[in-house]
Amino acid sequence: MKLVGDMLRRPEGATGLAILVLLALLALLAPVLFPGDPLKIAGRALTAPFTDPAFPLGTDRLGRDVLAGIVHGARTSLFVGLAAALAALAIGLSVGLAASFAGGIADEALMRVVDAFQIVPSFLLALAFVSVIGASVPVVVLAIALGAWADPARLTRAEVLSVRGRDYVAAARIAGMHPVEIVLREILPNVLPPVLALSAIIVATAILTEAALSFLGLGDPNVVTWGSMIAEGRNVLRSSPFLSIFPGLALVATVVGVYLLSEGLTNALAGEASVERKKSRRAGKYPPLPCRAEGGAGAGDNPPAEQGEEGMLCRTKNLSVTYRGQETPALTNLALAIHAGERLAIIGESGSGKSTLARALAGLLPEGAEVEGTVRWAAGAAPLPGRDLGFVLQDPSASLNPVLTIGEQVAEGARRHLGLSWPKARARALDMLERVRLPEPEKLLAAYPHQLSGGQRQRVAIAAALAARPGLVIADEPTSALDMVVQAEIVALLDELVRAAGMTLVFITHDIALAAGFADRVAIFKDGALVETGPAAAVLAAPRETYTKMLVASHRDLASPPLVGEIGA
């Protein structure tokens, strides 16, 4: 499996596995290495470690070989740990699967049982179980499993519910796949990895619980365990501390090994997920970061724009941006000027670098992005997001904070940057909500984002972006998540507000016609480079570059010839 390979390539995963393989080998070879019963008296009592080659780690009060005990004890520890974790996993998976697939009352009932088991401290449960039924290895395994199955059950259920709603499961049903096969091939393989990562921790917990039970004298008295060895040494802890220290070290090494392995597994899983996430990175997730460009955006003391550039708001020179871990730059050698008060549309398909430009202008590039070239601002310093620059993102459900009211989010910018008191900022927020034409703005102030539709949320996001009267507004695909009717409304609104306030608008879109509707100037991007720029009407009516021609030709509106004829309808 690819996941295992990924895990082994990470140092923590490889180290963890090495430790565990070594311990497992010792445990397996114990009868060969130390034949005979490790509980039998082998030599003189209390031999100090490293003194007698026959007993490298010494002997205990009864003259039993400590090393033989540790090696044989590994059998018990590993066996009980693995068996208990397997049992917990089996119960947890079954209950989680049953609950998620049964749904309804059965789901409710099973999950309440899970709740009950999660509330009761698992060690107390194991303790009670063993003291009532009596100590033996199978009972200890069962006792530990009883306290550990609830977590995997809950995780399995949550994962199944999430995976089951995915389109690929729908696609499998459409393909006519048998329900059992859907579970085995489409759902389980995508549910198991996170459950497996959790199960490593269950193994560690089980090993520790077993040791604790043995330490308290509740382990199987007929086998040697690390817990019972530590307990045994406790009586002579002052004179012969090694009797407790050596099995203690073995215990620590095992648990550390298991945790390292689990860490490697979790990281390998996260690495897998991050590949998927990379494509949908949103600027808003990252803290503002000043450009490192020399004399560039971040520096407060760089000179204002050169003479003869009147009306210039910002000019980039040789601007290149490379994201961390990427070979090719997302933006290369960009030279672009933004004029004060204009409406500039940045047009490009996926991978064109248009969003990277937006983030670079706003100082929102993710950490580790390499920036070359300069961004010169007429004002001298880079605009402060929120005060000088408003940013409207594609997905309003992700850019608005779900736990703050609409009023708080719109008023925040005005309060912070216009220095308004809360009541005044509230009045400003109310005014903004009226301007973006949301119904019942007074009521909305106290509402939360989830109570609004997508289009209404985007209106709120626009109100919040404009509340502090920034000079520059950057809108990054603000309508791509919305349907066309709402899109037309939002674009008209944004255009009108920006015009009325005399702001500069940088509108980023993949839709050349949408931009054509209101932009003064367009800049066409492809593969991280600027292809063509000029007045919107001129570029769209007579594109110079092949790529722009292709974009214009690919555009489809109601006047475009259909690809099918009308049949008798």
């Binding site: 048998h178 204009e342 003064d520």
Partner: protein, 265 residues
């Protein structure tokens, strides 16, 4: 003779004590080899309708006849077997494939389940399908998620035509694609229809895209079909406010009406 006839379909969703009528008395018909465009804003019920017709979601009421059978009455093995006749292409090109699947896996499933060709010929059939949708056969061994959005949607179309269906439901199948890619996918769909006589139910909020493929267009609003007619007629002479709003919303590359200030500043 219609391929599909739906009558009085209804669907309610209830969440948190509120009941939403997602579909109300929806009736439509679709002839073999025809494309019916289903237009509507978000929340108008068009995706719910698509998922009821593909039997992903049960209907609360109404009936569907598909290929001469009571489509909503089918269940179990009968339904699974008949599913070969009605396929679907999804909007989200990354979510429509098992994250572990290779291109060959994705195409092998329908061929195997419906025994479209003998087992030994499946690799050849996969190659032929890929060739038909314009994906290099060498991509068969690649993970679907390593492909670009346009290529993934081509694989999704190959998967849909693998079972030789009579009807494919296209649920916003080109909405997430770049315009240049979108245009090529639309052409591919048009050619496939011509070659194989497949009917499409094409769901989209973009009337311009619907116009490209649709013979007829139905406009939905608040769970009802408010207008239905030949595509050209609906666009030239819309009767309902919903259709007029959708038409107004389509961006035009070179607006007829002169702009207020062409040069801005």
């Amino acid at each position: 003779m219609s391929l599909l006839v739906a009558q009085d379909l209804g669907k309610r969703f209830s969440s948190g004590g509120r009941t939403v009528e997602a579909l109300r008395d929806v009736s439509l018909s679709l002839a073999a080899g025809e494309t019916l465009g289903l237009a509507g804003a978000s929340g108008s019920g068009k995706s719910t309708l698509a998922r009821i017709l593909t039997r992903l979601v049960p209907a609360d009421g109404g009936s569907v006849r598909f290929a001469g059978e009571d489509w909503l009455a089918l269940s179990g093995a009968d339904l699974r077997r008949r599913r070969a006749r009605m396929q679907m292409v999804f909007q989200d090109v990354s979510g429509a494939f098992n994250p572990r699947a290779t291109v060959a896996d994705a195409l092998d499933d329908p061929l195997r389940i419906h025994a479209v060709v003998p087992k030994g010929e499946r690799p050849r059939e996969i190659e032929a399908l890929l060739d038909r949708v314009g994906v290099p056969a060498a991509y068969a061994g690649r993970a679907v998620r390593d492909l670009s959005g346009g290529q993934r949607q081509r694989v999704a179309i190959a998967r849909a035509i693998a079972t030789r269906p009579a009807l494919i439901v296209l649920d916003e199948a080109v909405s997430a694609l770049d315009v240049s890619v979108r245009e090529r996918i639309l052409h591919l769909l048009a050619t496939l229809q011509e070659e194989r006589g497949i009917a499409y139910l094409f769901v989209s909020h973009d009337l311009a895209v619907l116009r490209a493929l649709s013979h007829r267009i139905a406009v939905m609003e608040a769970g009802r079909i408010v207008e239905c007619g030949p595509a050209g007629r609906v666009i030239a002479d819309p009767q309902s406010p919903a259709a007029r709003a959708l038409i107004r919303a389509v961006p035009r590359l070179l607006p007829q009406e002169s702009k207020e200030s062409p040069d801005g500043r």
